[in-house]
């Protein structure tokens, strides 16, 4: 009888302990110091780069109404010169060519094939222009956070979990794979080892969105000493391009009143 109760106690005890352990196991580690060190290296390295160019090959899922995810994407060639110059040339996978220019005084967004462009006066540094473009003009600028002067601050604010997954080689470059999380997005970033710890790949999972769509980008041809003449960032509309406006901030009756 006694052994029966001991056995019962053991079973109950195990039943109590095992789920608790399992729960511990499924929980991702909070912020691993080693991961944060690597992340900090990357962020400081990027933010300190006075000029750089890179080609981002991006793709993203778009959930369709019928429950299927389709992938779309683009190639983005980015050239920046701190504090206040950035040029992005975009080629969507369907061939549509678009671009973004900021020359320290003006933002321009244009479609070479659509033959349209819009401009907005703006001065300030890269952070100011990114904020203005995305928040006030409500235009997307994928991966723009990576160009921020405050990348480390942004990452620290937006990362509630971070850990090292392990070593991985991306496009021939030995990297360290980091996994980061916040309440909305799971982030994976592959940071190059060595003295130029630039991201080689990033994958974002929007875990609360329908279908948990992902955005990913491979970064190729990082160059931290590119030629950056002023002309690279100055926008000159093509002769046959039509000037349009940004909807956000637009006076809906502008046509009448102007």
């Amino acid at each position: 009888m006694r052994s029966f109760f001991l056995g019962l106690a053991a079973i109950v005890g195990t039943a109590l302990v095992v789920p608790a352990k399992a729960a511990d196991n499924v929980q991702a580690p909070a912020i691993e110091e080693k991961a944060m060190t690597s992340l900090t290296r990357m962020a400081e390295f990027l933010a300190k780069a006075q000029q750089f160019s890179v080609t981002a090959n991006i793709g993203y899922d778009v959930a369709q109404d019928w429950g299927q995810k389709l992938e779309f994407g683009a190639t983005r060639k980015i050239v920046a010169r701190r504090p206040d110059r950035i040029a992005i040339d975009i080629t969507d996978r369907d061939g549509n060519r678009r671009g973004f220019r900021f020359d320290g005084k003006q933002i321009a967004f244009f479609g070479l094939d659509e033959k349209v462009y819009a401009t907005a006066p703006k001065s300030g540094d890269l952070d100011a222009v990114i904020t203005y473009f995305t928040r006030d003009l409500r235009m997307p600028l994928p991966l723009a956070e990576l160009f921020s002067n405050n990348l480390l601050k942004i990452l620290k604010e937006r990362v509630s979990e971070a850990y090292v997954v392990g070593d991985a080689t991306i496009g021939g470059t030995p990297c360290e794979q980091l996994a980061l999380r916040n309440d909305l997005v799971d982030i994976q970033v592959w940071v190059a080892k060595g003295d130029k710890p630039a991201p080689q790949r990033i994958v974002l999972t929007y875990k609360l969105e329908n279908g948990q769509p992902q955005f990913w980008s491979d970064f190729r041809d990082w160059n931290f000493a590119p030629e950056t003449p002023d002309s690279l960032f100055t926008f000159t509309p093509a002769e046959d391009a039509r000037r349009i406006q940004f909807v956000a901030g637009m006076d809906p009756d502008a046509g009448k009143n102007q």
């Binding site: 991006i58 993203y60 899922d61 778009v62 959930a63 369709q64 109404d65 019928w66 429950g67 779309f72 969507d92 967004f109 479609g111 659509e114 349209v116 819009a118 952070d127 990114i130 995305t134 928040r135 003009l137 409500r138 235009m139 997307p140 600028l141 994928p142 991966l143 723009a144 956070e145 405050n150 601050k153 942004i154 604010e157 916040n182 309440d183 909305l184 997005v185 982030i187 974002l204 929007y206 609360l208 969105e209 329908n210 279908g211 769509p213 992902q214 955005f215 980008s217 000037r243 349009i244 406006q245 940004f246 909807v247 637009m250 809906p252 009756d253 502008a254 046509g255 009448k256 102007q258």
Partner: protein, 223 residues
């Protein structure tokens, strides 16, 4: 023994039945949600495809609602931002302070949206569509207090107090570049104060960038 086998059998039948029901239910909700918020309906391929969504923003976090509805190329995942998003704008907030300010400034709808994401996908979709509308209403505030929502995002339109109905299109309605191009042959271009307009019959359109895409907004005659 026989009873056990029978029970096992019925449990399996029940499980299969339940999963079929669940799948059907989810699908029905999805379609229901789609009906509430977007106009792509049953068409697949070409203009029926969504080209933007939650992931197109590429945002690192943050929820924004610009996505361009049923035929967009932007959306939450296209922003590439580290702060979540619903479509394409919010994400690139550079500081949490900015995020906060933006949220307080007018995107409470987004936040609610996000909360609802966690509980109900269908409501989420409706909220998203609502957010998109609210976004548009931001700039259309001066025009109309109330808006109507007929047939989906691009079929949606805003009431115009001054009676701005032009040949069935209401001032402030937007159509995609694809939809515009389909009828562009019958349109003539005009530039007023450096800004492009198109006249198609009696309807005037003004192309503009919205969430990264060129859309065509029905406007009153600029002349």
């Amino acid at each position: 023994m026989k009873t056990k086998a029978w029970m096992r059998h019925s449990v399996w039948v029940a499980l299969v039945g339940m999963s079929v029901f669940l799948v059907t239910e989810v699908e029905a909700q999805r379609r229901g949600g789609g009906g509430g918020g977007s106009s792509s309906g049953g068409s697949r391929g070409g203009a029926g495809l969504s080209r933007s969504g939650a992931a197109s923003s590429g945002s690192l976090g943050g929820n924004f609602s610009s996505g361009a509805g049923s035929y967009s190329r932007g959306g939450a995942a296209s922003s590439g931002s580290l702060r979540g998003n619903a479509a394409s704008q919010a994400s690139r907030q550079n500081t949490a302070k900015d995020m906060q300010a933006r949220k307080q400034a007018g995107d409470t709808a987004n936040r609610e949206d996000r909360q609802q994401h966690q509980t109900d996908r269908q409501e989420d979709r409706q909220d998203f569509a609502k957010d998109v509308q609210e976004d548009r209403q931001d700039f259309a505030d001066d025009w109309a207090e109330e808006h109507y929502h007929g047939g989906g995002y691009y079929g949606g339109y805003y009431g115009y107090p001054a009676g701005g109905v032009v040949a069935g299109m209401v001032i402030g309605a937007t159509i995609t570049a694809a939809a515009f191009n389909a009828q562009a042959k019958s349109c003539s271009a005009l530039v007023v104060n450096g800004i492009s307009y198109y006249q198609c019959g009696t309807t005037w359109y003004k192309p503009a960038y919205q969430s990264g895409n060129v859309t065509y907004i029905v406007v009153s005659s600029p002349k």
